[in-house]
């Protein structure tokens, strides 16, 4: 499998008054064809900004991609002129957002919103686009799709709106789907429906998915690989099985241990002490060191690099030393 998307040393900074906020600070990420990669982290870890940077949707002025490359099939999206980018955005790379309530236009019918995409990107005729829109809605499980295209978004429930968003995102058979917390606002039974649909569609069309979430259960449900972010950096990357089996980075470990299990009994939850540091005032050295139970002197002085170990990588001195010792 070859890489569909390669993000190299991506740095997106925000500027406020005289402060620089490194929201994304040197992120490397690879997504292969047909693969589902989950980007996981707590609020403020930079996972959503990473995805917006890939689509070049960073609000400007205010934020800026200051360094790095986003290689999509070999072309750097960051260098691409806006006009060229428009051909890719929404067409080959599409996006689903967390809030299905706010990401649909309330004054246009469902049909109009899907048809618009098809006419713009696929150069379809209006009648053909309408036909296709109905097919797409059927594909995401609406039985009365032909009537639905004349409905306005406020008539639909949250789960239905998210299915409409998926239909719209899949309308041009994208190569890459970026899903930013697609099920976070939904109830569990509806979440199960949506995850099923996403899984089916990515299998059917061979679409790669970048899933952004904080829910480790959802990750294990549909992802192949998992990338853990903390304070704008990748701290660990591994296959989903490996990570849950044996998390290497103390942060990943803490994250997994913090979640109560629905299946077993734990008398006390392992929590990570303290809070995520504010992005304008990050600690020296390893950014996780002040909260890390295994931190030693070096962690507070030097920033560890993301080092590769077989099929996984981790940003932690504990494992660097291990390798040197071998």
């Amino acid at each position: 499998m070859s890489a569909l998307l390669e993000v190299k040393n991506l740095k997106t900074h925000f500027f406020r008054k005289k402060q620089t906020i490194p929201a994304v600070d040197g992120v490397d990420l690879t997504i292969k064809k047909g693969e589902t990669v989950a980007l996981v982290g707590e609020s403020g870890s930079g996972k959503s900004i990473t995805s917006l940077s890939i689509m070049r949707l960073i609000p400007s002025p205010g934020g800026e991609i200051v360094d790095g490359q986003v290689l999509y099939n070999g072309t750097d999206l960051i260098e691409l002129p806006e006009k060229e980018l428009l051909k890719i955005r929404g067409n080959e790379i599409s996006m689903i957002f967390q809030e299905p309530m706010t990401s649909l236009n309330p004054v246009l019918t469902i049909g109009q919103q899907i048809i618009e995409v098809l006419i713009y990107h696929q150069k379809m005729s209006k009648s053909k686009a309408k036909q296709k829109a109905i097919e797409l809605l059927e594909m995401v499980g609406f039985s009365r799709a032909a009537e639905l295209i004349n409905d306005y978004p406020h008539r639909l429930s949250g789960g239905m709106r998210q299915r409409v968003m998926i239909a719209m995102a899949m309308s041009c058979s994208p190569k890459l789907l970026i899903a930013d917390e697609p099920t976070t606002a939904l109830d569990v039974t509806i979440q199960a429906q949506i995850l099923d649909i996403m899984k089916q569609l990515s299998n059917k069309f061979g679409t790669s998915v970048l899933l952004i979430t904080h829910d480790l259960g959802v990750v294990s449900e549909i992802a192949d690989r998992i990338v853990v972010m903390y304070c704008g950096q990748v701290v660990e990357e591994a296959t989903v099985g490996d990570l849950f089996e044996n998390p290497l980075h103390p942060y990943s470990e803490g994250l997994i241990e913090s979640v109560p299990s629905i299946e077993g009994e734990i008398s006390r939850l392992q929590s990570i002490e303290g809070n995520v540091p504010p992005p304008e005032n990050l600690p020296e050295g390893c950014r996780f060191a002040p909260r890390c139970p295994k931190a030693f002197d070096r962690c507070f002085q030097e920033m560890p690099t993301l080092s590769k170990k077989l099929s996984r990588s981790v940003r932690c001195f504990l494992y660097e030393q291990e390798e040197v010792g071998k």
Partner: protein, 339 residues
């Protein structure tokens, strides 16, 4: 059998171990429409729920949005006026007490922790005045003692006492939730209703708050009603768990029973829908996918409210409301499958 089968009262009244008993509690909200705002129908948010809580126990209420779990919390604390039914707090019927009486006997003893730590604290007040307000209202302690008490509260919830003159915006979500907990504790309540108290928090902070709530329960002998949509968190913190659907309690059981042997088809579907972090080589559980969406609580289905989405539904389910009854020891379920 009549169509409107009567629901049997499932608990003995005036059991002295019970800190709270709820009998056939109903809360209907009128739907106003038209120019004259005539009542054209009712949202049956809570429609006949009975349960009891023992002192020192944690009862979890789970269900999806719109099932009425928050309404029941707010009705128990009397933020909403109950439409019908009884709420007994330590044997006293508080369901129709007047405001002044409420303040004397109920408000002090039942407190609430809210979901949104950003919206539930007044942004223009310092921590000191937020935490002193309940003490002032209830005239507890003299002036100087109040300050000491506030300092003590902060310490109890793991906040630095030097924060006392700061405003809510200076704190993170987790810290604000600690403030919310401190405020709830200020009057030494016996029962705390936590409505989605950890849902807005990141997982690592969520674990801190859950641990804090467990420690406080042990120290002060608190009783909790823990309302949440997160089935894993509820399993962790509760002793018994009730599952709600469309204003009705479908199943109530000790957590071990409920999670390992769910009886109601809705509970089974709900539990199977929760995605679980999997280790290598373990298989995903079989999932029961519910078709369709939640019916409107303004116009709930006849008979069993779940029959429109239930795979085991029979014609009986469409007509007759199932009784909420004890199938096994302490395991209550409202379903015709278990007659």
């Amino acid at each position: 059998m009549s169509v409107q089968a009567e629901k049997s009262p499932i608990i003995q009244k005036t059991d002295t171990n019970n800190i709270l008993e709820v009998h056939e509690l109903k809360k209907h909200f009128p739907i106003k429409s038209g120019l004259l705002q005539k009542t054209s129908g009712y949202i049956k948010a809570v429609d006949g729920i009975s349960f009891s809580i023992k002192k020192g126990e944690t009862i979890g209420l789970v269900g999806e949005s719109g099932c009425g779990k928050s309404t029941i919390g707010r009705t128990i604390i009397r933020l909403y006026e109950p439409t019908d039914g009884q709420i007994l707090f330590k044997g006293q019927d508080i369901s129709h007490l007047r405001e002044a009486e409420l303040r004397q006997s109920v408000r002090k003893n039942i407190q609430m922790i809210f979901q949104d730590p950003f919206a539930s604290l007044n942004p223009r007040k310092t921590l000191r005045s937020i935490l002193k307000e309940p003490l002032n209202v209830h005239k507890k302690y003299s002036g100087k003692e109040r300050d000491e008490h506030v300092g003590l509260l902060l310490e109890k919830v793991g906040l630095n006492a030097s924060f006392i003159n700061r405003y809510p915006h200076e704190f993170s979500g987790g810290q604000r939730q600690r403030i919310g907990i401190a405020r709830a504790l200020a009057l030494h309540p016996e029962l705390i209703i936590a409505d989605e108290a950890v849902s807005a928090l990141d997982v690592s902070v969520q674990a801190q708050i859950i641990n804090l709530m467990e420690d406080l329960q042990e120290e002060f002998g608190l009783t909790y009603i823990f309302i949440s949509h997160d089935l894993s968190v509820v399993r962790h913190i509760s002793d018994r768990v009730g599952v709600m659907y469309l204003g009705n309690l479908m199943e109530l059981a000790p957590k071990q029973d409920l999670y390992t042997e769910p009886l109601h088809p809705y509970t089974q579907a709900l539990l199977s829908a929760v995605p679980v972090p999997r280790k290598k080589g373990t298989t995903q559980r079989e999932r029961i996918v519910l078709e369709g969406d939640l019916p409107s609580p303004a116009n709930p289905p006849s008979g069993c409210v779940f029959h429109t989405r239930c795979s085991a539904a029979t014609s009986e389910c469409k007509q007759i409301i199932p009784k909420f009854k004890e199938i096994k020891k302490e395991h209550y379920v409202a379903c015709h499958l278990y007659n």
